[in-house]
């Protein structure tokens, strides 16, 4: 390594109305270094990398690349300077082919035939098999990420930015990705790796910078620092681990018998022959890579998607043809993954949103007339019990931060005393302490005899709260197994293994 950092940031500051996203952030990355950027959601990681990639202009501070001033006005300029970025939410076009997607991210894209050959070459070299002619909409999450990575690699970047790259991968796919990244790093490519998964960072990264509320709060060498210390630097407080007494489960509440159903969306995944039982007081954790039937399973259980009679039994009663409201009446409550637009109506107030799902069970409606006073009280109760940070129940759902809205939509269902609660990604985008309190609330609910189905892509979360664990893969559910004696490898295999990926050649 030379002494001049590849990228040197000094005093970068960016403020948005009402919030300072980055406050005088400095950091340096050497050529070939794998540098971690750690922080909670909302700590300012995304804003920082957007400045490096030319999507956002800093208010103050300077960037240097190889000792020379670097101020990309747009992503094109950043790419020309050797910065590549793999986005957290994929920046891919479903209806276009792999080669077309890659051409769009390149400055001087060659003709598609020549490009297809290049894609094959690079994908062979790095062990990322990919067919250039396939339509991206048909690819799995892991394959989509390969498209993004190869798009960057074709530009021969000096710095590769990866924003939460492993959130959609199985453990085996993560291992292969890491091999690819280590190979790149050995070739001299610096990698800026954004994540909040501490064990991954300890395994992969040479250095780490930790952000909290827009400020650098510490730097460390991850291999020599414990995950717990890093977590406490990130969060700023000591974390509580959720606890439960653990009771023997009661009678069967939900029974799925060979549940099969087509997806309602064009690129969705059909459910295939799912059989499982959930008992009173039990938490069934369902893992799996996104897009393997999670949304469809939630829709089938909530009643948004009706199914052939005889496939879904609730307390012994057939419910496959009931819509969401009759099911709510019976005590089947659900909280879907997408907060804005699915779990909550973005432009309606919290009171109105509380009314939307709580009307029947909380007695907020009588003879078609709405009792707004009671709805407001219900909303206030959710806000108080789940520590939702908002000026009041009259605020629009859209105005809440993701984590606060998540606390609200989960709290809204928990407080309606469900018999069966189905949640998808209950702590997605929520900071660590709020996530812990949501998990505790779910466990308390199970303690009081509710049956829970928790669908999540966060394996640590599932291991923490599940009694039994099962994985969705290609719309099929693996047989559930007791969660406490499962290893990461076994979980990975339940999730479908490496989906045909192989380790980097050379």
């Amino acid at each position: 390594m030379t002494d001049t950092p590849l990228l040197d940031l000094t005093g970068l500051t960016k403020a948005y109305p009402g919030v300072v996203a980055n406050d005088s952030v400095s950091l340096a990355i050497m050529p070939g270094e794998v540098h971690a950027l750690l922080g909670e959601n909302g700590a300012g990681k995304s804003t920082l990398v957007k400045m490096i990639y030319g999507l956002v202009k800093p208010d103050a501070g300077s960037m240097k690349m190889n000792g020379e001033a670097f101020a990309p006005a747009e992503p094109r300029a950043a790419r020309a300077a050797g910065v590549g970025m793999v986005f957290q939410h994929f920046s891919l076009f479903d209806a276009l082919t792999v080669a077309e997607n890659i051409a769009l991210g390149m400055e001087n894209a060659p003709k598609l035939n020549a490009l297809s050959q290049q894609i094959r070459d690079v994908s062979d070299t790095y062990g990322l098999p990919l067919s250039p002619d396939r339509v991206v909409g048909d690819l799995s999450a892991g394959e989509r990420q390969r498209v993004e990575i190869i798009r960057c690699l074709l530009q021969e970047p000096k710095l590769l930015i990866m924003d939460e790259p492993t959130s959609v991968l199985t453990p085996q796919e993560v291992e292969i990705l890491f091999k690819t990244l280590r190979k790149l790093s050995a070739e001299g490519t610096a990698i800026l790796y954004i994540s909040h998964k501490l064990e991954e960072i300890r395994a992969l990264c040479d250095g780490a910078t930790i952000l909290r509320l827009g400020k650098v709060v510490g730097e460390c060498v991850p291999a020599e620092t414990s995950a717990r210390d890093m977590a406490e630097m990130m969060v700023g407080t000591v974390l509580q681990t959720p606890t439960r007494a653990g009771k023997t489960p009661g009678e069967v509440v939900l029974e799925l018998k060979s549940l099969s159903a087509k997806s309602q969306s064009a690129f969705g995944m059909p459910l295939r022959d799912i059989s499982v039982e959930v008992r009173r007081g039990e938490v069934l954790g369902i893992g799996g890579v996104a897009g393997n039937g999670q949304d469809e399973l939630l829709a089938a259980l909530s009643g948004e998607m009706l199914t052939t009679p005889g496939m879904i039994l609730f307390q012994g009663r057939e419910v496959g043809l009931l819509g969401p409201n009759p099911r709510r009446g019976l005590g089947i409550l659900t909280a879907p993954e997408e907060r804005l637009g699915h779990a909550a109506a973005p432009d309606m107030s919290l009171t109105e949103n509380a009314m939307l799902t709580g009307a029947a069970r909380e007695g907020l409606e009588k003879g078609g007339l709405l009792n707004w006073g009671a709805a407001r009280q219900f909303a206030e109760k959710i806000i108080a019990q789940f520590d939702v940070r908002t000026p009041g129940p009259g605020n629009a759902a859209r105005s809440l931060s993701g984590g606060n809205l998540q606390k609200f939509v989960i709290g809204r269902e928990v407080l309606q005393r469900p018999e069966l609660l189905v949640v998808n990604q209950p702590t997605w985008g929520v900071d660590a302490s709020a996530a812990a309190s949501i998990r505790q609330a779910l466990l308390d609910l199970a303690e009081n005899g509710t049956a829970l189905v928790v669908i999540s892509q966060d394996l640590d979360e599932l291991m923490e709260i599940s009694d039994r664990f099962a994985a969705l893969n290609e719309g099929r559910l693996s047989p559930p197994r007791p969660a406490h004696d499962l290893t990461v490898d076994e979980i990975g295999l339940m999730m479908g293994g490496a989906h045909g990926m192989e380790v980097a050649h050379v």
């Binding site: 999507l55 920046s91 076009f93 209806a95």
Partner: protein
Amino acid sequence: MDLSAINPILFIAGFLVAATPLIFAAIGELVVEKSGVLNLGVEGMMITGAICGFATAVETGSPMLGFVAAAVGGAALSLLFAFLTQITLANQVASGLALTLFGLGLSALLGQSYVGIKPPRLGDINFGPLADIPVIGPILFTHDIILYLGIALVAGVWAVLKFTRAGLILRAVGESHDAAHALGYKVVRIRTLAIMFGGACAGIGGAYISLIRVPQWTEGMTAGVGWIALALVVFASWKPWRLLLGAYLFGGITQLQLNLQGAGVAIPVEYLAMSPYVITIIVLVILSADKSAAPASLGRTFHASH
């Protein structure tokens, strides 16, 4: 009733003419929709193009200048739509409907002093001996340049969308404006250019009605062709060649029902007049079983949120 009164050669040549305004309007709208914008103002831009072209042709004596003015007029009106939907982020459906109503009113105002005037004629292209070939000559080689331009435009749009980087970027913006923005493409600028292209095409289509097909000016003379163009784009599954086919089908049946009326067929005129619309829609509905072809961002408002 005397079906022998219908001359098949004149009939085919006639339906090529009848289809041309529709081809222009629809191919323009296809490009707009491929960029992810739904502009329901086609009818308004057509009628504005019709009067701009008509007035300019009458004042200057040059039909070609008229078509240029029609393109400029249509594009200028579409800029209003672009401003509303891309800058002020107004709802595209409401803005498009407003554009149609505004265009109809504006054209009526502009056209007050042009009612009852005959415009200068645009001559046919001289293909020399080609035009003397029996049957094929009179059908294919006795038309004005705009008609051929329309067919060339369909081919051009198809080739640009399929083979060029500009076309790929346009499709990408229509597919996912957030992803395109993240890659550094100027979504608003690209969409504005597409909207203006659509406006210019609609304007030329309108002028083709007022200068060549009907040649005269009457209020509301586009008579719903803009709406048919919109439907055509959807039912053609956003594919240029299928769109051309649909336009000829519509033009053919329009021409046929006029001929049948002329021949005195014993079917009420209303049914005949409605038949092109009904048959075109039925055929295209059957063709468009593949619904996934719609640009995924169609009609959604883009706002760069950082």
